[in-house]
Structures are given as structure tokens and as C-alpha cells.
Amino acid sequence: MSETTVQKKLMGVFLPEIESTSYLQFIWIAFLVGVIGLGGFALYKQIHDGHVVTGMRDNVVWGVYIVNFIFFMGVSYAGALISGTLHLFRAEWRKPIIRLAEFITIIALLIGPCFILLCIGRLDRLPFLVVFGRIQSPITWDVIAISTDIFGCIIFLYLALLRDIARIRDLNDSRIPKWKRKFYKIMGLGYTGTPEQKVYLNRATDIMAAMVIAIAVIVYSVLAWIFSVTLQPGWHSTIFGPYFVIAAVFSGCGVMIIVMWVVRKLYHLEEYITRKHFVNVGVIMLVLAALFGYFTFSDYLTKWYGSEKNDELLIQLLFNDYYWSFLISNYIGVLLPMIVVGIPKLRTIRNITLSAIVVVIALWLNRYLIVVPTLESPYLPIQDSRPEWVFYQATWVEWSLTAAGVAVFCLLLTIAIKFIPAINVSEMEDHADPEKQILT
């Protein structure tokens, strides 16, 4: 394979990562493992003592776990959109950031379903979902959709990795640990870049890019239907399918920008991931913010304007007890990215990243406001004196497992970059002129 100057430079950045692990990185990994360990202990407590250790009770039976489930599934959308869509549109600027998008997708997709498992009372009976599965149940739709999505995304990611894996294999770099070289040899599938192989690979990638977008839309709609097929006030909404899809891409964009910023700083990729990338993904985020705001507005407007008794109770709860969360998730989270990206003067890398952080927090809160307040305002009033039976408050068990989820995300991302360059090196070969590669 011929190598351009850009590719050489990029390999120079990422090869040391593959070859060895620095002292600081060990500390970072140890820290993450520690957080995951705490989550593991919390999980042990939950399995040993029962779900009573969580804040969930008979009224609010779904809590932070389900919120995290929706959240991580949403984040996994980053890859489906940015990588899949931009691949199909052949947008040149995508090249330095698609690898990150694909990493985010696959990692979030592996974490998300774990959170729904935490919510299940009898994990020992999990095989029943397949053995006694009923197609009438939206949970079965979810099982089918998510497993298809994971499968499709793994294939898509693998296709995108193949050329880089073959490239590292062909380096014959003796500094790379032996077991890693073996890994590249097996995973490289004997790809050498013959014209025939290139044709097949491109065709397969095109098909999978389209598939991944379609599957992701289905997965997120099915997830929304779990809520909207019920009769609960606040959930029983026809808008939920597309609303959830938009919210998912929105949060995916937010996480994408944050990860871009971190990786850019850590590996000194200022040359490759430029302001243009932040602005471009930022513009996508702006469009999504507008759409998300529109969906949110029409959902709550119709509930508030011609409200049934229970919708009214729910709106009251949201506007009083959840005042700040509602404000952050549905106003600040929508308006901030629009202002920051919309006004050219404010469009700096730092500002866009900061607004992305706000967006991610806002969307987590948005899911919380969808799940919890509805369960706190059922048709029959909650008549109970035990506070935990009336209002939901997540316990340390739920928070440590949430932290563990974030830690697993960071850990897997760290490990992924130790195997595969964070920028798709092979994609950068199409133009020999480095000036064209380095987008400014």
C-alpha cells in the first residue's frame, strides 16, 4: 500500500499508542477500573439484597436505569448518523472524525442494554426472553431490534477498520507486542488492497451505512413505543417515535463533539480535527436542536392546552417540582446550541464544546423527565405515607452503576485507541495533496 505524507504523520501519532502504554494511561485505566469496581459492588448488593436497595418502588418502577438505557442508546446514534449519512453523501470533511463516531456508536450500544438488564428483577430468567418470547410484546421487538443493531454496527465498524488493521499488520513493526501483531494478522482477513478487494469493501460499506441508519431509526422508535403503547399520561403520545429518534441523534452529536475535543487535545490532532469539524458537527447539532425543540414544544403544548385531568397533574408536577430540570432540558438545552452555533462570532471550538456538554446533560434530564414524573402521577392518586413509595430518589447503588456505565464508556474508548488509530488513516489516502486533507 502506498503511503501519503499525511498517513505517515498520522501513523507517527498513533503507533506509540499501539506499541506501549504510558504511566499516566495506566493510572487513568486503574481509576476507571476502580469506578467500575464500585459499580460491581453495587450490582452485587442489588442482586444479593434485592431491588430494595434502589430508589424504585411500586409507583416509580423504572428509574435512572431506564433513563441511562435510553441515554446510551441515543448516544450510539452518533455513529449511525455522522458516519453512515456522511459516508453516503461522500462528505469529504467527515474523514478525520468518522472513526470516533463509529467507536462511540459501538461502545454506547454495548453499554445501553446493560442498563435495562439492571432493571430486571430476575436476571437468572433472562433466557426466557428467547425461550418463551412473545412477539406481541414491545420488549420482544426491542430485543430483536437491539440485537440486530449491535450486529449491524459491529459489521459496519469492522468494515471501516479493515484497511487500517491491514495497514498496521503490513508495517511489521517489531515494537508492537507479539500478541497484538497476531490480532492484526487474524483481523486483517488477508486484505491487501487489490482493486477487486477495494470494490467489494466499498460496496459492502455502502450497504451497511444505509442499513445502520435504517436499523437505528427502528431501534429508537421501538424504544419510544415501549412508553407510548401504554396508557400512562405523558407517555401515550403518537409523537414519541420520531421525538425519540431526534433526541437520540441530538445527544449523539453532543457526545461526538465532546469526544472530538478530548481526543484532539490528548493526541494533539489540532492539525487534523479543526474548527471546521466542530462547526460542521455543530451545525448538525443546531438543526437537531431546532427539531428537538419543536417536538418538545408540540408535545407539551398539546398536553397543556387541551389537558385531561391527568395531563394537567403531570404538567403541574413538571412545572413545579421539576422546574429547574425542565428549564435546563427543554429551554437551555435547546437554545444554547442554537445561539452558540448560530452566531458566527460565538462559534469557537471551546464554546461549541461547552454547549455540547450542556446538551448532553439536558438530554439526560429530558429522559428523566419523561420516565419519572409520569410514574409519579398515575391515574389513581398515590395514597401512601412512605416517602420512597411516593417520590423517586435514586440511591447510591443506582448512581454508582451510572458512574460505572460512564467509566466503561471511557475505558473502552481508551482501549479502542490502543488498538486502532482514532483517525481513519486509510481514508486519508484518496488525495495525495496533504493541503486538501488538512481541512481548515
Binding site: 439484597d49 434485592g50 431491588h51 430494595v52 424504585m56 418502588r57 411500586d58 409507583n59 418502577v61 423504572w62 432493571c119 430486571i120 428483577g121 430476575r122 430468567r125 433472562l126 426466557f128 426472553l129 418463551f132 418470547g133 412473545r134 406481541q136 410484546s137 414491545p138 420488549i139 420482544t140 430485543v143 415501549i226 403503547v229 401504554t230 396508557l231 400512562q232 407517555w235 410514574l375 398515575p378 391515574y379 389513581l380 392518586p381 398515590i382 395514597q383 401512601d384 405515607s385 412512605r386 413509595w389
Partner: protein, 319 residues
């Protein structure tokens, strides 16, 4: 092999003691009900006449009579030719909570798990408050059954919605699916679950299983042997009527009336009819009430009393 089986068989015989056939009441499947005799249980003094398998009539103590629980397969079928219905007379309820206590005792439930709940409802500010006992409605269009991913909850031919807690995976989707807050989750292993020494059967909803969902079951195990559900037989006011829609008859234990006539005369209705779940439980409106609402607070313990603290009625009284 046969010799190995022998001691097992004889120990089983010790427990069963005698295989008996007892006469059944109006609600049972047929004229005869299978039962066996457990001499280890305490006597109640109340004797019933039974016929043994070899045709002899003998007298045994009521409390020592045991009925074999039906298997999961059998429990899925439902009692043939029946369509069970419940009518709750809101004019008579004074929140005595005998139904709640009897139900919890009968199903071996902890205090925090109530299959039968009594609400203090007030539809609007200007309408009168009333006590509102709420069992499972055993809907004819049950959302809980539709959403169950593993078929752990099911609708039977006799209209009863049951849960098999040996099948339930505890996803709680049915809890969010039910618009009547009927279902409860076993958040831990409650000591009460150990009280029931009999083998598990979905019909008895007992013993409970940690990490699964359970709810009011209309006591099909009692119906099978010709008894009324715990809540019906325990109510001192005769608030709850139970019966068969096909036969058009309901009873509260003391009086037996025609179901359709009762509904017609007393303007019976179903709660939240607009949701389209088609409940099997009907209510008679709280007109010409036998007790003022305050009577419902009479003998309540502190904890139970405080549950009603946030109701509009109590808030208004405090002012």
C-alpha cells in the same frame, strides 16, 4: 429403583394421610372437589362431612382440609363455563380494611404489599369523598397481558388474569402498562413468603417470589373449592359481591342477587371506562350511604391513617 422410591412414597402418604372427596359449593367446577387431610394442622372445631375414595362418609375438621393446588398448565385454562365478575358497593364501604387484611393473610403478603387497596377518592373539589376499594380489574382487554414479553401473565377463559411468578422475569413493563396501579413488585424476599409451605401455583399467587410481579388474582384456588375470595368473605359490610356473569348471579356471602338487575337498579359502572380496558369489576355509586366518610378513620393504626394525609379531603379538614 423401586426400593428407592418406596420411602419417598410413604412419606408423601404420611402427609396426605387420606385422600378425600369433599362436597363443593355453588361456584365450583362440578359437584366434586378433590381434597386431602392434614392432621398436623391445628383444629378449628368446625367440622365438615366428606366422602373418602372408598365411599365412606366421615367428619373432619375444616382447618385440616387441604386442597391440591393446580399446575401451571391447568391454571392457564380457567374454570370451564364461567366468566367471573365482581361488584363493589361504594355506598356500604367504611374502610374497615378487613378485605385488605384477609387478602394479605391469605396470600402471605407483607404489609407493604397490598393486592386490595382502599383509596379515599374525591372526583372534584365540589363532590363528596368516598372510600374506594380497588382489587385487580381482570380486564377483558388487559394491557398488562399484551406487553408481557414471556407470557408470565395471561388471560383465562373464565376472565381471570393471572401471573406465573415462576415465569416472570421482573421487567415491570406490566406495572407501567396497568393504568390502575394494580400490580406490585417483590423488591426483596419478605419473611411472609416463607409462611406458605405448599408448593407454588399461579392460582394461589403464593408463596411470593422475590424480583417478580404479583397482584390480586380473584382467588381461583378458593373458587375451585366453592369458596368466595378472601376480600368478599371477610367484609363485615357485604360491600363486595362476586359471581358469574354467564349465570348472571353475584353474592356477597349473605345475599345472592341477579347481577344485571343489581347493575341496572343501582346504576353500576366501571372505573375509567374511557381507557378501553374493559374491566370485570363494577362499582355501585356511593349514594344513600350507610356510613359517613369519617367512620373510615375510626380504627386505623397511625401508619395507615397517615396514608390519607395528602388527600384533598384531609387537607381541607385540617384547615
Amino acid at each position: 429403583m423401586k426400593e428407592n422410591e418406596k420411602p419417598q412414597k410413604s412419606s408423601r402418604r404420611d402427609f396426605l394421610k387420606k385422600s378425600l372427596v369433599a362436597g363443593a359449593g355453588v361456584l365450583a367446577t362440578g359437584g366434586l372437589v378433590e381434597a386431602y387431610f392434614d392432621a398436623s394442622a391445628a383444629e378449628s372445631g368446625e367440622k365438615v362431612k366428606v366422602m373418602t375414595t372408598d365411599g365412606k362418609i366421615m367428619e373432619v375438621d375444616q382447618a385440616q382440609l387441604r386442597y391440591p393446588r393446580v399446575s401451571r398448565e391447568e391454571s392457564k385454562k380457567g374454570i370451564p363455563g364461567k366468566k367471573f365478575v365482581m361488584v363493589i358497593d361504594l355506598a356500604r364501604c367504611k374502610n374497615a380494611r378487613a378485605c385488605v387484611d384477609a387478602c394479605q393473610k391469605g396470600h402471605h403478603l407483607p404489609k407493604s404489599q397490598e393486592f386490595m387497596k382502599v383509596f379515599l377518592l374525591q372526583d372534584t373539589e365540589n363532590t363528596a369523598p368516598y372510600w374506594f376499594p380497588k382489587p385487580c380489574y381482570h380486564c377483558d382487554n388487559p394491557l398488562c397481558v399484551s406487553v408481557c414479553p414471556v407470557g408470565a401473565t395471561y388471560k383465562r377463559t373464565d376472565g381471570i388474569v393471572l401471573i406465573d411468578t415462576n415465569r416472570c422475569i421482573g421487567c415491570k413493563f406490566c406495572i407501567t402498562g396497568c393504568p390502575y396501579s394494580t400490580r406490585v413488585f417483590a423488591w426483596e424476599h419478605y419473611p411472609e413468603f416463607d409462611e406458605d409451605k405448599q408448593p407454588y401455583s399461579p392460582e394461589a399467587s403464593s408463596p411470593g417470589v422475590e424480583g417478580t410481579v404479583s397482584k390480586c388474582d380473584f382467588c381461583p384456588d378458593l373458587i375451585r373449592v366453592g369458596k368466595l375470595p378472601y376480600c368478599v368473605s371477610s367484609c363485615p359490610m357485604g360491600v363486595i359481591y362476586f359471581g358469574d356473569m354467564d349465570e348472571d348471579v353475584v353474592t356477597n356471602g349473605t345475599e345472592t342477587v341477579q347481577f344485571s338487575k343489581l347493575i341496572e337498579d343501582r346504576a353500576g359502572y366501571r372505573y375509567l371506562e374511557t381507557l378501553g380496558t374493559r374491566p370485570s369489576v363494577y362499582y355501585l355509586p356511593p349514594v344513600e350511604r350507610q356510613f359517613p366518610v369519617e367512620r373510615g378513620f375510626g380504627d386505623l393504626d397511625e401508619e395507615t391513617r397517615s396514608r390519607y394525609e395528602n388527600t384533598p379531603y384531609m387537607k381541607k379538614n385540617k384547615k
